[in-house]
Amino acid sequence: MERAARRGSHSAWLVTAVGIGLLFSNRAAAHTGTGLPGGFVSGFVHPFTGLDHLLAMVSVGLWGAFLGRPLIYILPVVFPALMVVGAIMGMFGVPLPPVEVGIALSVLVLGASIALSFRAPVWAASLIVAVFAVFHGYAHGKELPSAADPVSYSVGFVLATGLLHVSGICLGLLNERPHGIVVTRSAGAFIAVIGAWFLFRAIGG
């Protein structure tokens, strides 16, 4: 009788221990995928994690807002289109001048254009943004094929890029307020200074 009671107690301890173990254990993750990083969330988060890309994309929207119609919508269309061209060059390993220098220059030039209130003609603004978009696309195109789900990664990445342009345009709407232009030009100057720092580092300073 006593032995049976002791055996029952052991079983209860065992069940309790297994139950607690199951409660606090992690889910089995052996077969959830190929182990490669990259889906929608990775693609979406990616442009927010690099300050150089982030500042350049916000600058494109901000400069577009600064220049008004038609560049306010031409620049956010030109940038992703040429970014794709750069990404394709990156995927196929087409040689390009130092990409980091190009990206740093993009932050510097776009920031300076806003700070100096550079009223570029449509063709010149489109050309400047197009050239820099190729460098940004090239850097991302190199890493895109290694994503586990490249299509979802592209969706997240392009969407985030577009939203950064839109946020730059929204920031540019400050120009319509009194003293707003001082704020946006100061933001441009700040971006240009950071761009100069990126360029200094990229050249090997």
Partner: protein, 161 residues
């Protein structure tokens, strides 16, 4: 991995953006044509050897459909119905080869983007819709190019596939 919900969803988004530039009278026949094509093609067997061509056709359709927002006079009823038929055919084919019918059901609501898009077009804010369509084109061009790369680790089957 490249099938599932995303390719048909992008097709439906492109169609939704294109329909925003079509006259109101074109919406009902276009949606009917889409549903009819989806229903008809859902039960057609597609040979597995066509996989690469089906994906290429899907991405090309996304590009053409999204680019139609730049037509000066927009879509007329005939072209809207034609784009819907094309979208339905490619969406069904892609899902048939690399996905499940449930993916098609999950992707289908994205066509409803034409409600907010047409609202924007009606308020002289068609630029926003054109910018969004340029993003869709960018994604489709990237996806179509990835297909041509010799090795894309994400597309290689793992030991469970």
């Amino acid at each position: 991995m490249r099938g599932g919900v995303v390719p048909p969803a992008l097709l439906f988004v492109a169609l939704g953006l294109a329909l925003a530039f079509a006259p109101r009278r074109a919406w009902a026949p276009s949606l009917l044509a889409l549903f009819a094509t989806l229903a008809a093609f859902a039960f057609l067997p597609v040979p597995q050897v066509w996989l690469e061509w089906i994906f290429l056709g899907c991405w090309t359709s996304v590009i053409v459909t999204a680019a139609s927002v730049h037509l000066v006079r927009g879509l007329n009823t005939c072209s809207a119905v034609a784009l819907s038929l094309n979208t339905g055919a490619w969406a069904s084919a892609v899902v048939c080869l690399s996905g499940s019918q449930l993916d098609l059901l999950k992707a289908l609501p994205w066509v409803l983007i034409f409600f907010p898009a047409s609202w924007l077009v009606g308020r002289h804010a068609s630029i926003a819709v054109k910018v969004a369509s340029s993003w869709v084109i960018a994604i489709a061009v990237l996806a179509a190019t990835l297909q041509m790369l010799p090795v894309t680790p994400g597309y290689l089957p793992d030991h469970l596939e």
